[in-house]
């Protein structure tokens, strides 16, 4: 298929690097969501009165009917495992010494992707109730890691 033979001392490619750094504005909805997480230890959603849908995390518009949403509501810090996975590899492709459980936790009509801890991976079940474990208030900085993980209740 490839007729050209390259001895190893011949240049065949050039190495490139693209150092990308970005800033991501939270916006009105995420700022409110993370402020509540940091300052009050609560999870906020917004309710669409037309669709009767509770978006978690809260958003300022309904993706179903495009109405502006203003009805902010705190949801219970306890949700159900909608689905989960057990990760055996790190981002760099190396194997983890201990596998880690990642779950999608249903809260309202949305939810959060987060770590699941204080449970053996073999004991996790779809539908089980789990609660958010927050960092102590003085350690919270207003991002998703202010929740350390979810744990069974």
């Amino acid at each position: 298929m490839y007729p050209f033979h390259h001895p190893f001392d011949r240049p065949v490619h050039y190495e490139g690097l693209f150092p990308v750094t970005n800033r991501y504005t939270y916006g009105i909805a995420s700022e409110k969501f993370f402020r509540a997480l940091k300052e009050e230890g609560i999870i906020l959603g917004t309710h669409c009165p037309h669709c009767d849908k509770l978006y978690v995390p809260g958003t300022i518009f309904c993706e179903t009917c495009l109405s502006e949403l203003e009805d902010w509501r705190a949801v219970d810090n306890v949700g159900r495992v909608d689905t989960f996975t057990v990760l055996y590899k790190n981002l760099d492709g190396t194997y983890r010494t201990e596998p880690e459980i990642v779950a999608f936790i249903r809260l309202g009509d949305g939810g959060l992707v987060h770590r699941l801890a204080e449970i053996d991976p073999k004991s996790v079940l779809i539908g089980m109730q789990v609660a958010a474990v927050f960092k102590p208030p003085e350690e919270r900085t207003g991002n998703i890691l202010d929740i350390r993980y979810f744990k069974p209740v």
Binding site: Y2, F4, T83, T85, L87, L91
Partner: protein, 386 residues
């Protein structure tokens, strides 16, 4: 005005785990040469517009559309690049011809995956920067979550998904262009090498390099230049919410809607009767099963039995991924839909060699943009104009 549009030429270069000699431009040039020969067209005279499909981060070059005209014969001609799946490009070409403004359009898609030294980082960069990236998970956690929910709803097992890997890699034995063929006897898949339980490493299609060019023409031109035009009977595309948080993990509603759109244009009311074979997404083995449900060939109660009875083998009720699919051919990222289209064209022309199906007339082609997207497109092809 004649509304029919046909594929009149296909050409590809590949597919190989690596391609150290050819640059991506040379891969595309090879594919283009073959496609133009197949279509019996002179690209500089006959082809009126060109579309390439490329994503900057995979290319390693910003504003990549600058780099696409020359190798296709598109310099100083109408040309644009779509950051989407190859099927989105194919559908755009179809619509351009349907508009009546163009008679012959070419599309190009490629993968030079072996040049991307940090594929996992590129995929991670597609995750929500605020809600998911800080968690620092391997991005295939998304596939793990989706597969787990699918197994829960369908009663399929990990072994059922392994059977899909076996089928597709076995099919690839009859495809000389496939990079990852394997005989059934050899595919005793280890069922303890998990990346994201229940997702096994062996259930993930491995990348390949390659390029595909496809030439489309309106009905009158197609009839004149091609002895075997393959007609586009229907097209559909759809995206769900981008948010993992708002997603329904157990079903592929966007695939279902894209298919519904294409079925209605093709006047197919029952896909089980109207479709002879399918070339669909299998970038993760479980996705083939989920996609078959979304396309209307099975439901959550029947899929397990159909997999186990071999219904999707070449001699089964509905041959699926006879080419070997992405698991057997190799994963071409956004060019995957083009590889699947080429297979459908070869089968419908009756020139698919050792893997030729018995006189198929209608095919469905589906592709998905991969983790973490909800972006899918569907095309229905036939060798019958009416």
């Amino acid at each position: 005005m004649n509304k029919d549009v046909a594929i009149v030429g296909v050409g590809w270069e590949g597919f190989h785990p690596t391609s150290v000699d050819y640059s991506y431009k040379e891969l595309i040039y090879q594919a283009a040469n073959k496609a133009y020969h197949d279509a019996n067209v002179d690209p500089r005279k006959d082809i009126e517009s060109f579309i390439s499909v490329a994503e900057d981060f995979f290319e390693g070059t910003s504003i990549f559309d600058e780099y696409t005209p020359d190798q296709l014969g598109a310099v100083l001609k109408p040309m644009h690049t779509i950051s989407g799946e190859a099927l989105h490009g194919l559908i755009s070409a179809y619509l351009m011809i349907r508009s009546g403004l163009f008679k012959i359009v070419a599309i190009e898609a490629h993968s030079k995956a072996s040049n991307i030294k940090s594929i996992t980082e590129v995929t991670r960069y597609a995750l929500d920067p605020i809600l998911q990236r800080p968690l620092n998970f391997h991005p295939d956690f998304v596939a793990g979550l989706e597969m787990q929910r699918f197994l829960h709803q369908s009663q399929c097992s990990i072994s059922d998904c392994s059977m899909i890997v076996q089928k597709n890699r076995y099919n690839a034995l009859s495809n000389p262009s496939a990079a990852y063929p394997m005989s059934l006897a050899e595919t005793k898949l280890s069922e303890d090498d998990f990346l994201a339980y229940p997702l096994l490493e062996s259930h993930i299609a491995k990348p390949v390099d390659g390029a595909i060019v496809i030439v489309l023409a309106n009905g009158d031109v197609a009839k004149d230049i091609s002895s075997q035009p393959i007609w586009i009977k229907g097209v559909g595309w759809c995206n769900d919410s981008y948010a993992l948080e708002y997603r329904n993990w157990g079903e592929l509603s966007y695939v279902q809607k894209a298919a519904k759109m294409a079925y209605s244009q093709s006047q197919i009311t029952n896909p089980i009767e109207g479709i002879d074979f399918a070339e669909i997404d299998d970038s993760y083995a479980y996705r083939e099963a989920m996609t078959l449900i979304a396309l209307g060939f099975a439901d959550n109660t029947t899929i397990r039995g159909l997999i186990r009875e071999g219904a999707f083998y070449p001699d089964g009720k509905l041959p699926v991924n006879v080419s070997g699919g992405s698991l057997g051919v190799g994963y071409l990222f956004d060019a995957s839909g083009a590889q699947k289209t080429v297979e459908a064209v070869l089968q419908l022309r009756g020139i698919a060699g050792a893997r030729q199906l018995s006189q198929p007339s209608t095919a469905i082609v589906e592709s998905w943009r991969g983790v973490p997207t909800t972006s899918s497109a569907v095309v229905i092809l036939s060798n019958q104009r009416e």
